[in-house]
Amino acid sequence: MTPLQEYLALSMALFFIGTWGVVARRNIILVVMCIELMLNAINIALVAFSNYSPIGGGRGEVFVFFVFALAAAEAAIGLAIAIAMYRLKEKLSVDDLDEMKG
C-alpha cells in the first residue's frame, strides 16, 4: 500500500514543476498549460486526502470536479485571450501584457 505521503510528494513535485513553468516560460499558451499542470497536482492531493481520510466520503472528489470545471473555464478564457492578443499584437509574450502597470 502506497502511503499518503508519497502521493503528496508527487503532487508537490508536479506543482512546483508547473510553477517553474509559469515563472520561467514567456509564451502565454505554455503558461496556461503549466497552470493546468499545477491544477492537476492539486487534484492529486485532493483525491489522495479524500481516500485516506476517515471522514472523506467523496468530498475530495467533489472538489476535484469543481476544479475541473474551473480549469476548463480558465483554459478557455486564457486561450481566448492568447488568440485575441496574438491578433492584436502579433506576439505571444506574457511580458507584452503590461497595460496594468502602475
Binding site: V23, L97, K101, G102
Partner: protein
Amino acid sequence: MMKTAVLLIPLLPLASFIITGLFGKRYFKEKSQYLSVAAVAVSWLLSIYLIIQVERGEELSWQVYSWIAAGKFKVDIGFLVDQLTAVMLLVVSTVGFMVHVYSIGYMKGDGGYYRFFAYLNLFMFSMFMLILGNNFLMLYVFWEAVGLCSYLLISFWYTKQSAANAGTKAFLVNRVGDFGFGLGIMLIFVTLGTLSYSGVFENAGRIGSGTITAICLLLFMGAMGKSAQFPLHVWLPDAMEGPTPVSSLIHAATMVNAGVYMVARSSPLFHQSHTAMFVVALVGTFTAIFAASIGLVQNDIKKVLAYSTVSQLGYMFAALGVGAWAAGMFHLVAHGFFKGLLFLCSGSVIHAVSGEQDMRKMGGLKNKIKITYWTFVIGALAISGFPGLAGFWSKDSVLAGAFNGGYWYFWLVGLIAAFMTAFYMFRLIFMTFHGKPRDVELYSHAHESPRSMTIPLIVLAIPSVLIGLVLGLPPEDGHIDRFLEPVFEAVKGEAHHFGALDVGLMALSAGIGLAGIFLAWVFYIKRPELPEKAGAHVGVLYKAALNKYWIDEIYFALFINPVRALGRGLWRWVDVGIIDGFVNGSARFFRGVGMVLRPAQSGKIQAYMFSMLLGLLALLLVYLALTI
C-alpha cells in the same frame, strides 16, 4: 373670572401679534394700530380689575399645564397672581397702553408701521407672562423673550448700521447676564429639585449658606444684564437707537425693571444671604452714581435719559439690597410712570424738530411745544425729587431705607447721585426749552405733536404727580408698603418708627434736589459760559464721562476682539492647520508611499508570480524554522 382675566391679559396681545404680524403687511397697513391698541387696552382694563381683586385679598396660583417633564425635572406653565404681580401688571399695562396710543402718532407713515405694532404686542405678551409666571424657568423664558422684543425693536430701523449694532449688542450683553441667570436656575434645581416659586421659597431655609450666596449672585447677574447695572449697563444707552416709544416702554418703564422684579420676587432667597444683598446694594449704588456722572455731560437728549434710567435702576437695586423691599418697588412704580413720561416727551421733542436728538441744536422750544414742555417739566421735577411729586416720596423712601438700615455710605452716595440727577435733568430742560434757539432752521419748523401723542403725555403726567401721594403717604408705612406687605412679610427687617430724624432726611433730600435744579439754572440760564469753564477745569474727568469712561472700548479690547481673534486662530491654525493638516498630511503620506512602491506594480504577471513564489518560500522556511 380671575383665571379668565389672567389668561386674557397675555393672550390678547399675543393674538394681536400673530394676526398683525401675519396679515399686517398685506391687509392692515396704516390701520394696523386698531387691533393692537384695542388688545392692550383690554389687557389694561383687566389688569386694573386684577389689582382690585388682589386688593380685596384674592390671590391666584394656577398650574395650567405641564410644560417640561424630563425625569425629575418638571416645570409647569402656571400663573401666580399676588400683590407684587398686580403692581407690576399695573405699571406695565398702563405705560404699555399709553405707549401704544402714542405710537399711533409717532410712527405714522413709517414703512414698518404694522411690524412695529406687532412687535409691541409681542413685547406686551412676553412682559405679562414674565410677571405672571409662577416659576423661575418661566421667568427665564420670558426674560429672554422680552430681550428678543427689545432686540427686534432696537434694530427696528435695521438699515441703520448703528441700530443694527445696538440691537445685537443689547441681546448679547443680556445673554451674558442670562448665562448667570441660567446657571442660577440650574443650581436651584439641583439643590432643591423644583423651580416653582412656592416650592423654592418654602425650602429656601434648607439651602446651605455658600450655595444660597452662589444662587443669589448668579440670579443677580441676570438682573444686572436686564436692568443694565454696571458692568453690564453698556447696552441700554445704545438701545436708544430704537424708536422713542420703545425706549419709553421697554428701556425705561417695563423691561429693564424685570431685574428689579426678579430680585424682589426672589426676596426669600436673597434675604438668606447677607453677602448677596450687600453685592446688590453695592452694584446698585455704584451704578446710580456712575451712570449719573455720565448723564451729566451727554448731549443727546435720549442718552441723558438712558443714563438716568440706568442710574435710577441702580437706586432700586440699592433699595432692595439694603432690605427696603417695598421702597424699591415703590421707586420702580414711580419711576415707571415718570421715566415713561420723560421718554415720551423727548420723543415729542424729537418729533417736533424732525428727528434731531442733539440738545446743542435745540433751545427755546418751550413756546413752540407747550404741552410737551409742561409735561416734561413735571416729569423732570418728579425725578429730581421736587417735594410732593412721585420721585420725592419714592426716592426718599429708598434713601431712608439705606440710612435706617445702617448703610450710611450708600445713603451718602445716593444723595450725591440725587443731586446729579436734578442737575442733569434740568440741564436737559434748560438746554432744550429755554434760552435762544441755537438752530434757527430747526426752530422755525418745530411744531406740537398730534393729539394721539400729547394725550398720553398728559395722562402719564397725572400719576407722576400724584402716585407718590397716593402710595407713599405716610412715609415708610404708605399704601404701597401695606399693600406689598404679604409678599415681603418673611423678609422684613425690624419695625422702624418714623421720627424727627426722618423728617430731617426728607428735607435734606428735597434740598439736594432743589440745589441741583438751581445749579443747572446757574450754569445754563444765568451764566451760559460756565459749563465750558468748568469742563476745562476738570478736563480729564469731563472727557472720561463724555466718553462713558471708555467702557465700550475696554470691552472691545478685552473681550470682543480677543474672542474674534481666538475664533480666527482656532479656525486657521487648529482646524485648517493642525487637524486638516494631519488628515491631508496622512493622505499625502500614503500617496508618497504609493509613489515609492509604484514601480513594483510593473504589470508583468510573471514578475508577480515570482514574488509570490519567493513569499511562499519565505513562509515555508519560517514555518520550518518554527516547527523544527
